[in-house]
């Protein structure tokens, strides 16, 4: 379970200080998938960096399973948007996935095995010997997801993970995330600027506003049946919620 309490962050001090986010309160239950959507400049990446423990927020705190985050927690994994820079080009795909596992006390053989298993789960069985740059963008992002999975996090942060991919690949990976969440007990925070995606994948959609970044709305996603790219997107509930979120985001851009 993730709790964000009165979170705020100011970059710099004095006259050049910049308040990126302010008074953010959010609870995400164990196993829940929450989409964070908002226009650029709404402090999405600051929020992510606070939650990931990469920066210490100037106000408030983030608690993961009851423990306040001070450093980088060992039960948290991130999939970054820029897979080509987040994966290491000098390591094979398998080594990229296995690299973080020594922190979990895994031996060489164990890490290798976990790596292969995770690669299999994202549909890349047998690609372990390759290098990331030999793969397509979508496959590289699958490697990033496999690396996060192998790390067995209780919280998975997805930082605009599909923003750089083409529409077809994006849909495949959205469905991959939906499938993986049923097979693993992870809490997932999906940061995105894609309104359709936020509704399609999320259990809840949290809309962020700008100057400074704050929460505008927290909407439950109630859709019947399993999500399916074409039929789900055609349901009246999806269309209505999508319009509502789009309206909220539009207001934030114009305000």
């Amino acid at each position: 379970m993730l709790e964000i309490v009165k979170l705020g962050h100011v970059y710099g001090t004095g006259p050049t200080a910049h308040q990126a986010i302010a008074d953010i309160n959010l609870e995400v239950a164990q196993g829940e998938l929450v989409s964070l959507v908002g226009p650029s400049g709404c402090g999405k990446s600051t929020l992510l960096r606070c939650v990931a423990g990469l920066i210490q927020p100037t106000e408030g705190e983030v608690r993961l399973d009851g423990t306040p985050i001070s450093g980088v927690p060992d039960n948290l994994a991130v999939v970054f948007q820029d897979y080509s820079r987040s994966l290491y080009p000098w390591l094979s795909v398998r080594d990229n996935v296995a690299l973080p596992l020594s922190r979990k006390g895994a031996g060489r053989a164990e890490a290798r095995e976990a790596s292969e298993r995770a690669l299999g789960e994202v549909g890349l069985a047998g690609a372990g010997e390759k290098y990331p740059w030999q793969l397509s963008g979508g496959m590289q992002q699958r490697v990033s997801i496999a690396r996060a999975l192998a790390y067995t996090p209780s919280l998975l942060l997805l930082d605009e993970p599909f923003g750089a991919l083409d529409a077809q690949t994006r849909e495949d990976l959205e469905d991959l995330v939906l499938r993986l969440r049923t097979e693993h007990t992870m809490t997932i925070l999906l940061i995105t600027h894609d309104i359709d995606e936020s509704v399609y994948v999320g259990d809840r959609v949290v809309v962020l506003g700008r100057n400074p970044g704050h929460i505008v709305a927290d909407l439950p996603v109630v859709l019947e049946g399993p999500r399916e790219q074409i039929s789900t997107r055609a349901t009246p509930e999806f269309v209505a919620l999508r319009a509502q979120v789009a309206q909220l985001v539009r207001e934030q851009i114009n305000s």
Binding site: F80, Y88, P89, Y131, W133
Partner: protein
């Protein structure tokens, strides 16, 4: 020398073969390889012939023809027993220690340069503190310090090593520093998120990421090491190729002087070739990634 340069184009020609479709048979492949060698080496042959013709025509003691130089090189250095790779005692006494100092000096400079470079690259404090000093030392032409090293170490291998190390450490140090400073922030963020310890971050992320720049520095330093090896041997040595060259000059043996020049040229080429082979192994990922991105 001409064979070493000629084998290089032959290899890619074979690699490129599958793209050409089918297997055109051994004869065509050999034919193409021979053609590749010829297209690369005809100028070398031409220059040698011209050199021979001009020097024979001029008949100047200071500029002996290459054929005479080759004979003299053979007599002096390459007519030894098979057990010592056909090197004569003189060659063993002078080539080996000189090359040994070159490689040892280069290795020392590499270790110290990379260690210091990473420290300076990753610590803003150290960098700000030491950068002015480094910039000053770097700007000193290495031979200018020969008198200082002669006083400090007197004639001998320590003085030559000091000259080489001090002279060639700068490209390694500064390139490593630059490489360690400019590691992609997302590389480091990812490493932090996944909890890589500081030593593992250094070995698995920072060094590989800086490796292309480190290798560029190492390559420059290797070439400089050869230069400084010769200079230090001209001034403060009792053996070495530079020393041989100087004694030959004093003895008006200009065939041997030119021979030493050729040995140095070949040595420089061989070192560079070996370095390129190692670099290709270590930085294979970079060549691959760059080719695909372009």
């Amino acid at each position: 020398m001409s064979t070493s340069t000629a084998t290089r184009p032959a290899a890619p020609a074979e690699d490129g073969d599958p793209a050409g479709g089918g297997s055109p048979g051994g004869a065509a492949r050999v034919g193409r390889a021979v053609l590749a060698v010829l297209s690369r080496s005809w100028l070398v042959v031409l220059v040698l012939v011209a050199w021979e013709a001009v020097t024979v025509a001029v008949d100047d003691h200071f500029f002996p023809p290459p054929s005479q130089i080759a004979v003299r090189m053979y007599e002096l250095w390459f007519s030894g027993p098979a057990s010592s790779a056909f090197l004569t005692q003189e060659a063993l006494d002078h080539f080996v220690p000189g090359i040994g100092r070159l490689l040892l000096g280069w290795a020392l400079a590499a270790v110290v340069g990379v260690v210091l470079g990473v420290a300076l690259g990753r610590s803003e404090l150290l960098h700000d503190l030491l950068d002015p000093l480094l910039q000053f030392f770097r700007a000193i032409p290495p031979p200018a310090l020969l008198p200082v090293f002669l006083i400090l170490f007197s004639i001998g291998p320590r003085m030559q090593l000091a000259t080489i190390v001090f002279g060639i450490i700068w490209p390694i140090l500064l390139n490593t520093m630059d490489g360690a400073r400019s590691v992609d922030r997302l590389h480091l963020d990812t490493a932090r998120v996944f909890g890589l310890s500081a030593p593992r971050r250094l070995v698995r992320i920072i060094l590989p990421s800086a490796a292309p720049k480190i290798f560029a520095g190492l390559r420059i330093s290797l070439a400089m090491a050869l230069i400084l090896m010769v200079i230090s041997e001209l001034v403060g040595a009792t053996n070495g190729i530079g020393y041989l060259m100087q004694t030959a000059q004093f003895g008006f043996d200009y065939q041997a002087v030119w021979g030493a020049v050729i040995v140095l040229g070949v040595l420089g080429n061989v070192l560079n070739l070996l370095f390129t082979l190692v670099e290709r192994q270590v930085l294979g990922w970079q060549h691959g990634a760059r080719q695909l991105n372009s």
